[in-house]
């Protein structure tokens, strides 16, 4: 019985803690759920409400424990630095009301059921107006739901399918348009070249730009071959894929996976003596690539990037200056600011831009819908610019493709060389993907 009493006590304690967590919401940032209505209620919506503040809740869905947690961690650092930075600097609606963002961070471990669960929590418990999200599959499968619930969704996935969804935004060309830029670059380098497309044939993210690449290649007279490269490739699987690619004697390789398998494929290509330039998509190539490939890939490895990386950009240029300031404020060293960090920062910044284009009343009454319309006002009105990081961005209803140009980044053995920006011409890459897949 003594033991029963102990266990009973333990259970009571657990229940109390859990209940407290449920009721109070646990961490500090979200202790004021859905208070956006309080302050502005007293404030008439007409402009000039300087001095007033309101709070909004934003969901922040991240992967810190799943298969993409490595880049996820950097992305989270950047986004959190941005939340902190803009909150402290002050975010003002167009009528001058200061907005404070409470973000609710949830690690869903790249598991869709968890994403769905946390989405419901964001919506029903915190009544969020926007979500800063992560992967392709979860964002795509939630997109219809967010449209119905009228929640702005800014994801780290740049899938073409999201371009036509009413509530999904991102500050980049979609994967297809980026890939088309890569194909255009390849055609420039070597007309009539053969491109082997290495990607996991089973994964939405990897497959996403393939129809567009094929359409673009056909237009530019390049030959393409499909090769399956598993997203979870080890060296042996990567070698098999490279051997398969070598059968068609390619001049270029496109790697559509994430950096893990792309770097192993580059290593395998170096080992097997395939003399072709690999261009990986945006999540397949970053500062760590040469180290991960751990082989001589100089001049033969590169990737697409819609923006100049912080490591090569002028830190005092507009946009990059804010980026580095935010990093400094959050306690990071300048060399810790990498591409993934910047991607997180940019997504939050885009949200801030949306808030700055709404009025307090609009935001309070219509929430996500107001933010969506604020971003879409860039279609006809003044374009959105995240400093010099992006060119002018215009989001139009039914077409959330903000701009089309991308850089091609090549590792030359010592540094990353940026070519471009290149804007793919002649093919509607988004349309090609939507129709092809």
């Amino acid at each position: 019985m003594q033991r029963g009493a102990l266990i009973a006590a333990a259970i009571v304690v657990i229940v109390v803690v859990v209940a407290a967590a449920l009721l109070m919401g646990g961490g500090a940032p979200q202790q004021a759920p859905a208070q956006e209505t309080q302050q502005p209620q007293q404030a008439p919506a007409a402009g000039g409400e300087a001095g007033k503040t309101m709070e909004i809740n934003v969901g922040f869905l991240v992967d810190l424990s799943g298969p993409t947690s490595d880049v996820g961690k950097e992305y989270v650092k950047g986004a959190e630095a941005a939340f902190k930075y803009f909150n402290e600097k002050g975010i003002y609606t167009s009528d001058g009301v200061r907005v404070k963002i409470n973000y609710i961070k949830r690690d869903y471990g790249y598991k869709p059921p968890k994403a769905a669960e946390f989405y419901q929590e964001f919506r029903d418990r915190y009544h969020v107006v926007a979500i800063v999200g992560w992967g392709t599959a979860d964002t795509e499968s939630l997109s219809d739901q967010t449209a119905r619930d009228k929640i702005l969704y800014i994801s780290a996935s740049y899938s073409a399918k999201l371009v036509v969804k009413p509530y999904n935004f991102f500050p980049a060309p979609d994967y297809s348009t980026q890939a088309c830029a890569a194909v255009a670059w390849m055609a420039q380098q070597k007309p009539g070249a053969t491109v082997a497309l290495l990607y996991d044939h089973k994964v939405a993210y990897s497959k996403s730009p393939i129809p567009a690449i094929k359409a673009m290649a056909e237009k530019l007279g390049l030959k393409v071959v499909d090769v399956d490269l598993p997203l979870k490739a080890d060296e042996a699987a990567a070698e098999a894929a490279i051997r398969e690619a070598m059968k068609s004697n390619p001049d270029f390789l496109w790697c559509g996976n994430t950096i893990g398998s792309c770097s192993l494929a580059a290593r395998a290509a170096a080992k097997l003596g395939l003399d072709a330039v690999m261009i990986a998509n945006v999540w397949g190539f970053d500062e760590r690539f040469p180290k991960l490939a751990a082989a001589d890939v100089a001049g033969r490895a590169g990737g697409v990037s819609p923006w100049k990386w912080p490591s090569v950009a002028d830190p005092n240029a507009p946009g990059y200056r804010e980026l580095f300031e935010a990093a400094k404020m959050a306690g990071y060293k300048p060399e810790e600011v990498n591409l993934r960090f910047m991607q997180g920062f940019m997504n939050v910044w885009l949200l801030v831009k949306a808030i700055e284009r709404t009025t307090a009343k609009d935001l309070q009454e219509r929430g996500g819908e107001a933010l969506k319309e604020a971003l879409e006002s860039s279609c006809q009105g003044e374009p959105i610019k995240l400093g010099d990081i992006t060119p002018e961005m215009r989001y139009c209803p039914g077409n959330h493709l903000p701009f089309k140009s991308s850089y091609i980044v090549i590792w030359d053995g010592e540094k990353f060389v940026f070519h471009g920006p290149i804007t793919p011409e002649g093919v509607d890459c988004v349309k090609a993907t939507l129709e092809g897949g």
Partner: protein, 335 residues
Amino acid sequence: MPAGVFKETYLELMGFLRYPIHRYSALLAAALLAALPMLADQFLVTKLAFYMVFLVAVIGLNITVGLAGQISLAHAALMGAGAYMAAWLTLHGVNILLALPVAALTAAAVGTLLSLPSFRLKGYYLAMASIAAQELLFYVYQRWVAPDQYMPVNPDAKMLLGLDLSRGPGLYYATLLVTVLAAWTAANIGRSGLGRAMKAVRDNDVSAEIVGINVTRVKALAFAVGSFYAGLAGGLLALHLSAIDYDNFTLEQSIDFLAMVLVGGAGRVVWGSMLGLAAIMAGQSMLEMMFQGNPVYRYLLLGAAIAFFVVKEPEGLIAVLRRVKEYLRLWPFSY
């Protein structure tokens, strides 16, 4: 047994709600569950409904593993069979309520196929065979069933007489109804002749065969029934989600299901499953809320709690509950 209550027939003794307190608490629970959307906030209601989906799946696995002793690590894949069937049917205009039983039967059919290895294998080997089945089905989903990674569910098929079953109270009541029916049936399976045959097979299948139980049939049924529940849960998942992603049905999810059964209490089909689900799935979410965005503590605490309870209570959390119940029954004079 409470004092003053006497059972005169075997039928009474085996009754489902044997004692007045059972009847009262069942009534109270029913009233509470029915009134919940009026009492609690939307978030809790939706979340509870979402957990019920997985509860149905865990109950199914508890029948296969707990009652019949057939270790299965393919449960998530079976859930997938139901989910995809339901989603596919809705895309062809079939109402989700009609799609649910079809989904369950589809999974049951697949599950019966998966019972084949169990006729010859046990323990570790059977577990491995089910892992193989899980991975094969996963490949089929990835490549052939849902090559776009997810299959959308038709929202128009989730309406019943103008009530939207995919959100709010509609979703809650629809899920609740299915879950309660499923749990009720499951609790009764354990007390039926089939349930006893399953337990006999679990405890010693050679002896069971000798006393005249058709072991092959019982094993096949154990898989069929367990998979039926998995399929039902898959159908419910289609009701809850706007798209069915194959990453819902990974080996990891299957392992999680097994952990829920073992941690909760294998063989205690309803209560054990509920406790296991609460400990692992709800526990994970709550830890995530407490240490938001820091998965390290979530893993450490959850893992330590599981290991601790299993070592201290190898029969699962249900044994803890029994102990607590016993303690409270005698409280404050525990001797």
